[in-house]
């Protein structure tokens, strides 16, 4: 300790310059305090990363498994983790379409043999699942370890990651029920990935010099014998993106069509009338009232990942929760406990995960806000 501290402190200038017995000390000092790169154009900028720092951040895993940490996990252990921490968003069998596209489905035994997923061409599968597309097993390990569960990334251990990935592979019938996935067995599973031969890098879109696959011409006149409209939005979708009049400038030549009503029968307005201007709501000039605390906490604690205010997602809508408990006494305490500890049964079989780290006062504010029912 002492030695290294001493090495870092510069020698007294007068003696440093005198050389002699200090020469060695000066050399050591220089090798520690100055960057080692010879071509250091920008002295004083940046510092050497420690081994521990690189290890903490460098967690990526490549298709050749460079970067894969050692560890292991069984399908059975993975199922426990999946049911507790993944199923609420991705479905018990990885089939759910509610929060994201399904993870499992659409692959067959033949695909596993062939290494190409047939349903990508025969279109029998309505939706493309993760397992139908992914060619490289490393991609799934890397991603789950770095980013899942979605609302609690970086909370899985290496072994838990192996286990939960083993379970996903088992759901897709790539590995048997008693399989243990590990840094030693990843290779053998890669050789069974259903779409392992499904990628091509032969195309001109990888860099700016690539040769384009599409060749069009710039014809200037008499280019189309007849012009036919092949597709347009159906009438029933007229207001599907809400009123387009409210999404365009309220003055000027290019205002929005009022899609809350039927289209105009004909161009009916004269030029002068068209220049008439409607005013913005006076509310626009007032300060926007601050959102209620509950709503801020709802966003802050990611309740929105599973609860809509008025629509059902993974969990019930908060409007439905407010309705169910309207006028009941003592329900605050019960709900606060439920949010803290998690659990299922009140609305269905899907459990809510525990929220152990949220402060009690935040949970209390959330519950009062939910029960107030004013969304």
């Amino acid at each position: 300790m002492f030695r290294s501290a001493e090495r870092r402190s510069p020698p007294p200038p007068s003696r440093g310059r005198s050389g002699g017995g200090w020469g060695g000390a000066i050399l050591i000092f220089i090798s520690v305090a100055l960057p080692a790169t010879a071509a250091d154009k920008f002295p004083g900028i940046g510092r050497t990363a420690t081994g521990a720092e690189v290890a903490a951040w460098d967690i990526d895993v490549r298709p050749d498994f460079k970067g894969l940490p050692s560890g292991s996990g069984s399908v059975a252990k993975g199922q426990e983790i999946w049911d507790a921490r993944c199923a609420n968003c991705h479905g018990t069998f990885g089939e759910s379409n509610e929060i994201f596209t399904p993870i499992v489905g659409g692959t067959t035994k033949q695909d596993i043999e062939r290494g190409r997923v047939a349903s990508l061409t025969d279109q029998k599968q309505p939706q493309r699942t993760t397992m139908m597309k992914v060619a490289t097993l490393s991609s799934l390990f890397d991603y789950i370890y770095r980013a899942m569960p979605w609302n609690e990334p970086r909370s899985l251990t290496v072994d838990e990651t192996y286990a939960v990935l083993a379970h996903i592979l088992n759901l897709a019938e790539v590995v048997p029920d008693d399989f243990v996935l590990s840094d030693k067995t990843m290779d053998s599973v890669q050789a069974r990935m259903p779409n392992r031969f499904g990628m091509t890098k032969t195309h001109g879109l990888a860099n700016a010099r690539g040769k384009p696959d599409i060749q069009a011409t710039a014809c200037m006149k008499d280019c189309a014998e007849f012009v036919q409209i092949g597709s347009r939005l159906p009438d029933y979708a007229r207001n599907a993106h809400n009123n387009l009049a409210d999404q365009n400038r309220i003055w000027g030549p290019f205002r929005g069509a009022d899609t809350s009503v039927a289209a105009l029968a004909a161009l009916s307005l004269s030029r002068s009338v068209a220049l008439t201007q409607s005013a913005p709501s006076s509310a626009g000039e007032d300060a926007v009232p601050p959102a209620p605390t509950g709503k801020i906490l709802y966003a802050k604690h990611h309740c929105a990942a599973c609860h809509g205010l008025t629509n059902k997602l993974v969990g019930p809508s908060f409007r439905d929760v407010a309705k169910r408990y309207q006028g009941k006494s003592d329900v605050n305490v019960v709900l606060e406990r439920k949010i803290k500890l998690g659990g299922a049964g009140a609305w269905g079989n899907i459990p809510m995960p525990p929220h152990a780290t949220i402060e009690a006062s935040d949970i209390a504010s959330l519950v009062s806000w939910i029960l107030e029912g004013k969304f």
């Binding site: 790169t37 250091d40 154009k41 940046g46 510092r47 990363a49 951040w57 460098d58 990526d60 490549r62 460079k66 509610e98 929060i99 997923v117 993760t130 060619a135 490289t136 991609s139 991603y143 990334p153 499904g198 990628m199 091509t200 879109l205 990888a206 860099n207 384009p212 599409i214 011409t217 710039a218 006149k221 012009v227 409209i229 347009r232 939005l233 993106h241 809400n242 387009l244 009049a245 999404q247 365009n248 400038r249 309220i250 030549p253 069509a257 009022d258 009503v261 289209a263 105009l264 029968a265 004909a266 161009l267 009916s268 008439t276 409607s278 005013a279 709501s281 006076s282 626009g284 929105a304």
Partner: protein
């Protein structure tokens, strides 16, 4: 006398227009029914008072000119009333918006830029499109670090203080999501240019070239054929970038349109990868690794891969090819009169500069060349304009861009002939807007 600000209605005496009508007009603009009702209100008022001028009797001229306006006869607001300035209240309709039903959760979603209301080439910072995979975060710059490791002589750490001391560049580039216009591969799916093309923005970015940082760490350029860029948020977004790009024009940016990046766009640090799809412009950038092979991260192995008709996916498709779109008039707009219009739009190419833009008013049968407005920059949006006199008959407007490599923006059928209609990504087809004889503009596909 204090007048309520009600646009041209402001000359009316208090209480003269029923309150419900005022709020209806405020909310919906004036349609025919309301207008008729308004006229009768005016008429009724006129009976009681002869001093009130109306449009029909204002022979001397327009009341906006003849009458003194409130903004002319009162003291305006003081400086710094809004210390960080905001757009006029009359512009509040132009906002980033989600496309209903497109995604299931809004922290893994998109908010589209309202291209239909923008001018020139720069996207205002607050309207830059948003695409997040795991929500957005606002990172304390004092706690942010950039690590460079892998095939380098010396793995290094840079603080924001370090980075801002380095020689910086400022460049204007477009950023477009690879899935922009992806909803329209099979058929028309959304009504306006905000939803068809609004995952496009163009800003001036300021930062330090990645080559400077790689050099500073002694990157092994012989073996190091790729870099991996990684984000510091929960998604830890990772993307592979070929070393030749990395050394060419890629930079590590903190500035956007003269201020710091907005948190939604990666504050305090993001990668700028000119010409390449937005997902590679890693936000909240915290690490660059030099390596000798591509990484096949989740967003290179499950998404941002283009499905071809033979069932193969094209992997590592990156370049945003030459594309253009007319922004006014565009889908969901309503023309209220015949006569002259300046038709305006945007063109861009990930392979270089825009050389020419042609516009058709008859669905692609005849074309005229549009004016390109300066500046015309490489891998940036170029604004084009063309004159048009609308005679009131139905028209189909299209634009077709050609870039400095000679590449011509294709019609949708030419794209589909090669790539099918299920690839989601990289749809750079010619866009068609139909102007009906009623003046309403709709999104259509021709052929």
């Amino acid at each position: 006398m204090i007048r309520r600000k009600l646009g041209h209605l402001s000359y009316a005496p208090e209480g003269f227009v029923p309150a419900e009508l005022v709020s209806a007009v405020t909310a919906h603009g004036i349609d025919d029914t309301r207008r008729a009702f308004l006229r009768s209100s005016f008429a009724a008022a006129l009976l009681g008072s002869t001093v009130i001028a109306t449009r029909s009797s204002a022979a001397e001229g327009e009341l906006e000119i003849l009458e003194k306006q409130p903004w002319q006869t009162t003291l305006g607001k003081p400086v710094a009333a809004t210390p960080y300035g905001l757009p006029s209240v009359f512009e509040k309709n132009l906002q980033r918006r989600e496309s209903p039903g497109l995604t299931r959760v809004s922290a893994a979603s998109v908010a589209f830029t309202p291209l239909q209301g923008l001018f020139g080439i720069i996207t205002p910072s607050g309207l830059h499109f948003e695409r997040h995979h795991q929500g957005w975060v606002d990172i304390d710059p004092a706690k942010h670090r950039l690590m460079i490791n892998g095939l380098v002589k010396q793995a290094k750490i840079f603080t924001m203080d370090d980075l801002l001391r380095l020689p910086s560049v400022s460049r204007i580039h477009f950023i477009e999501c690879g899935a922009n216009t992806g909803l329209e591969w099979g058929n028309v799916a959304v009504p306006t240019v905000q939803y068809t093309h609004g995952m496009l923005s163009c800003c001036e970015f300021t930062g330090v070239p990645l080559s400077v940082l790689l050099d500073q760490c002694g990157a092994d350029l012989k073996k190091g054929k790729y870099v991996l860029a990684e984000g510091g948020d929960g998604s830890g977004m990772t993307r592979t970038i070929p070393m030749e790009n990395a050394l060419d024009d890629v930079f590590v940016a903190w500035g956007m349109n003269g201020e710091m990046l907005r948190p939604e766009n990666g504050y305090p640090l993001r990668l700028v990868v000119p010409g390449v799809q937005g997902v590679s412009w890693v936000k909240w950038l915290r690490r660059i690794e030099v390596g000798d092979s591509p990484y096949a991260s989740k967003d290179e192995a499950v998404h941002y891969i283009d499905l071809m008709p033979d069932g193969l996916h094209r992997q590592y498709t990156s370049i945003q090819e030459c594309k253009s779109v007319i922004t006014t008039p565009s889908g969901g707009q309503q023309l209220h009169a015949t006569g002259f219009y300046n038709v305006s739009g945007m063109a861009w190419s990930g392979r270089g500069k825009i050389k020419r833009v042609d516009v058709s008013f008859d669905g692609g049968n005849h074309w005229r060349t549009a004016r390109l407005e300066s500046p015309v920059l490489s891998k940036a949006v170029t604004r084009f304009n063309i004159d048009w006199v609308w005679d009131g008959s139905p028209a189909i407007l299209q634009s077709r861009a050609i870039d400095s490599t000679g590449y011509v923006q294709p019609p949708i059928r030419t794209l589909r002939a090669i790539r099918g209609s299920r690839s989601i990504y990289h749809n750079n087809a010619i866009q068609s807007w139909e102007v009906g004889s009623n003046g309403e503009v709709s999104n259509v596909q021709v052929g």
